[in-house]
Symmetry: C2
Subunit: 132 residues, 2 copies
Amino acid sequence: MLYSYHHVNYKRSSLRDNLLAIVQGTNTHPTAQELYELLRNHYPGVGLATVYRNLKILVEQGFIVKVEIKGSSERFEARLDRHYHLICESCGSISDIPLQVDQDLDSRVEEVTGCRVIKHEIQFFGLCKNCR
Amino acid sequence: MLYSYHHVNYKRSSLRDNLLAIVQGTNTHPTAQELYELLRNHYPGVGLATVYRNLKILVEQGFIVKVEIKGSSERFEARLDRHYHLICESCGSISDIPLQVDQDLDSRVEEVTGCRVIKHEIQFFGLCKNCR
DNA sequence: TTATAAGATGATAATGATTATCATTTTCAA
DNA sequence: TTGAAAATGATAATCATTATCATCTTATAA
């Protein structure tokens, strides 16, 4: 069965399914490099470029989300609901914040700026539970 | 007169003074490349590496702040008070949000997570006044 | 004022993360 | 089963940023 999205009909790839499962099975927001190393347990000959390619496809398909944190490589997560992140300034880990996303914030900023606001993101910086 | 900070005694450099003045004179959050091009009006022979070097020093000295926005190169601003940013998804411009920084947010996240929270940043995504 | 040590500069090489290319292999629908 | 399109692995290319190094400048102390 094909599943298609923008311009391309993607074909089934067990490698990509496996990659998705790995991202879905963690909450550590892994980088492409980390996923590459995990995937090599199942696909010893896999190339790093293939991991990047498939991550891009999985993002495009809406199965995972790319998380861009300053000072770090791209990271990926499978949580699709909006939420905020905390970056540990000691160990560099990223944790999800169990806090409701503030829906009013966007409209408040619209009123104050005259801009059109579609969404917002918040990053908290500090020390994670282990490091504090 | 020397002014020193961490490990190094920096010597006066009119080029660096000029670079600082340029950053202080704009609210467009320019990139190193953009500042390089502006600086060449006064210093035609300046090298890009020198701009990067001096930006790093100015950040270290606390005269300017590096702004990291996803999908974009490093940007710099001379506003030292905390504030939020809006990134225009059409033209890529960055604007400052005239909104009070929420001081309670950090302690609320501390309560909810058990992490130590030092600060937070918010990016709004949408369309700037020109593009909307 | 001048000698000198430390910084500053420009040119360029190196780095690191990500993307593009290309030849080959695999998938899937007819 | 076959053929077109996608997937893959290897590798080259790209882009932003940083490091290196030889040369030039600055600040200080004699």
